[in-house]
């Protein structure tokens, strides 16, 4: 158990370090002087030089990298250019909004996708199965930002059922949840399809297993067989899939945050790019990467918790 966890953790650290190296070289390779780019065309030479020294750009490359690297691991992501606040603090302020959005997306996809896939598998070959199949493919195919805009148009602008912009009043949970419905649906809709397909496929496989035949031979009720004996095994690959899919959900979250004018890391990075606030871009991308790696780790642990076979191997 210990060695597996250690290996898994080591891999995570390696991926994050690699991301740091890539980000650093990317910023380093940006054509032109980052200080000049950050300050814009109207800055004086003296201002540029001051910023260069402040950003540590006058030091040799490897010193710059080392400072970046050690700083990042200790939570110091530098200061952002515009307001001079610590990048880590700015990103952390926005992170809960993005996490809520992704959690919402996962909730939609799990709450609808798993029953749908399960139903399709049990009714295999029927019209219901075929319709679920086509719908799954359709929602996977259509990009989330188109879904976001159409959802905005229909439910917020035309029907006025749900709020169009923002994240809701701070402290008012009900209001925040209403504001979450449309963006999280835009993030999660495609995943309803992914999960329905995945659950259907693995359900079909599990339902063929010998132990299901045994359970039937003991006359166990079909509901017990489907939900307790088959589904608990069939959702395991789905958990892993969700872990990997977090990357895609983060992508969708960027669009959802922009379309619904929600605060969040995605919107932060987007705005930072438009204002050429490079330390903020690097910091936010790095935090996203760590988040992503952590969620994958979590997905593995959840699989472990759900599957006694894996649990004992850990």
């Amino acid at each position: 158990m210990f060695s597996y966890a250690l290996k898994r953790l080591g891999l995570s650290v390696a991926i994050v370090s690699l991301a740091m190296l890539l980000l650093f070289s990317m910023i380093y390779l940006v054509p032109g002087d980052p200080a000049a780019v950050a300050l814009g065309p109207r800055a004086t030479d003296a201002m540029r030089e001051a910023l260069r020294i402040k950003m540590g750009l006058d030091q040799p490359v490897w010193v710059q990298f080392w400072n970046f690297f050690t700083g990042a691991w200790t939570g110091d992501l530098g200061r952002e250019v515009l307001s001079d606040r610590p990048v880590a603090q700015v990103v952390m302020e926005q992170l809960p909004y993005t996490l809520a959005l992704i959690a919402g997306g996962i909730s939609w996809s799990v709450a609808i996708g798993i029953p749908l896939g399960c139903w399709a598998a049990v009714k295999r070959g029927s019209w219901a199965d075929r319709i679920v199949g086509v719908l799954s493919v359709a929602v996977i195919a259509v990009p989330s930002f188109v879904i976001a805009i159409y959802a905005l148009l229909v439910f917020a602008v035309s029907l006025r059922w749900l709020p169009a912009i923002g994240a809701g009043e701070p402290g008012d949970l009900g209001d925040q949840l209403t504001h979450l419905i449309l963006p999280s649906l835009a993030v999660g809709l495609g995943w309803i399809g992914y999960i329905a397909r995945m659950v259907r496929a693995s359900m079909l496989e599990v339902l063929e297993a010998q132990h299901i035949r045994t359970a039937r031979a003991f006359g166990l009720p079909e509901n017990l067989i489907t939900f307790r004996y088959a589904l608990t095994i069939a959702i395991l690959p789905t958990v892993t899939l969700l872990g990997v899919g977090i990357g895609q959900m983060l992508s969708s979250a960027v669009f959802a945050e922009i379309v619904f004018a929600r605060p969040g890391v995605g919107k932060l990075v987007y705005d930072a790019i438009l204002t050429r606030n490079y330390p903020l871009v690097t910091g936010a991308v790095l935090v996203t990467t760590v988040l992503f790696v952590l969620i994958n780790l979590l997905a593995d642990l959840i699989v472990g918790a759900l599957d006694p076979r894996v649990r004992s191997r850990l």
């Binding site: 991926i15 690699l18 991301a19 980000l23 990317m26 910023i27 390779l29 940006v30 086509v134 493919v137 359709a138 996977i140 195919a141 259509v142 990009p143 930002f145 188109v146 805009i149 159409y150 905005l152 148009l153 602008v157 035309s158 992914y194 496929a201 990997v244 990357g247 895609q248 983060l250 992508s251 960027v254 669009f255 922009i258 379309v259 995605g266 990075v269 987007y270 790019i273 438009l274 050429r276 490079y278 871009v281 991308v285 996203t288 990467t289 992503f292 994958n296």
Partner: protein, 297 residues
């Protein structure tokens, strides 16, 4: 020498005109496949014959005609600069199609080379490349795009690079798996024992066997490519104005969504129809030709 060794029929040998017709008929027999094929053909036709299909210029600004709703004159209405949206959608199809074909071709070439190296090369290189593929593939696409545009500035080239980065790991992985399997197979071992060089074995024996499944996968990835182009253009990270792109039209529409919703509808509709069309077609193609790939994704 190695011609004497029995070689399974390659994709190149199998693809004759009659077979293509037969394949089309099999796809058409599936309602979903027929629907997909029609959507795709309409999209391609619209892009290719755009100049003949409308009387308007895609970038011609006409302040008198701005913000007009859909009518017989302007099928999808006009935007904030009075440009005919139908015309811009048709021309946007050209951009989408060009990016799809061009970047898929590049991704395929790079993916094939990397996959062959990983599959045929030494073990450590294989492991290293796998780690790299997995890291890139799992990284949020938009973050990748945003970081890249920071570096290179918004352009169509940036879009192509993002698509290549996103697609290559998947293709390389398929090629690698197939290469590993083929490496052990009898006809490759036989060719090796007759002293054929690695390059020759790859070209003559391995390539023809892996190219078929790869092309099907590539065709299934086309909707993803179209989504990336539209998405980046929507964020202003792709094509520069005034070049017509579906994503850019969608962005124009998003800005004015409360007053002139038809602009957003005009931008989103072709994206939805095209991604659906290619996806339905790709799924049918895969089911018809290579049921083995069914588990993927």
């Amino acid at each position: 020498m190695s011609e004497a060794v029995s070689n399974p029929p390659s994709m190149a040998q199998r693809l004759r005109l009659g077979d293509i017709w037969k394949a089309t008929r099999r796809v058409l027999r599936e309602p979903l496949g027929a629907f997909g094929l029609i959507l795709v053909l309409v999209m391609i036709g619209g892009a290719v014959f755009a100049d003949w299909l409308t009387a308007y210029e895609p970038n011609k600004i006409s302040p008198r005609d701005r913000f007009q709703g859909p009518s017989l004159d302007h099928l999808l209405g006009t935007d904030h600069l009075g440009r005919d949206l139908f015309t811009r959608v048709l021309h946007g199809g050209r951009i989408a199609l060009w990016v799809a074909l061009f970047s898929t071709a590049i991704s395929l070439s790079i993916g094939i080379v990397l996959g062959l190296i990983a599959g045929y090369g030494p073990r450590w290189l294989d492991n290293l490349m796998l780690l790299l593929f997995d890291s890139i593939k799992s990284f949020p696409t938009v973050m990748l795009a945003l970081a890249l545009v920071t570096l290179a500035g918004p352009s169509l080239t940036a879009v192509v690079i993002v698509v290549v980065l996103v697609n290559v790991p998947g293709y390389a992985r398929i090629i690698r798996t197939q290469t590993l399997a083929l490496k052990e197979s009898e006809f490759v071992t036989a060719a090796q024992s007759m002293g054929a060089s690695s390059a020759r074995i790859l070209r003559v024996h391995v390539m023809p066997n892996v190219i078929g499944p790869l092309l099907i996968l590539a065709s299934m990835d086309i909707p993803v490519v179209i989504a990336i182009e539209a998405g980046m253009s929507f964020l202003g990270l792709g094509v520069r104005p005034p070049t017509p792109s579906w994503g850019a039209i969608l962005n124009d529409g998003f800005t004015a969504i409360r007053d002139t919703p038809w602009i957003a509808i005009a931008g989103g509709l072709p994206i939805i129809l095209t991604t659906l069309g290619f996806t339905f077609l790709g799924e049918t193609l895969r089911d018809v030709f290579d049921p083995r790939l069914k588990g993927r994704g």
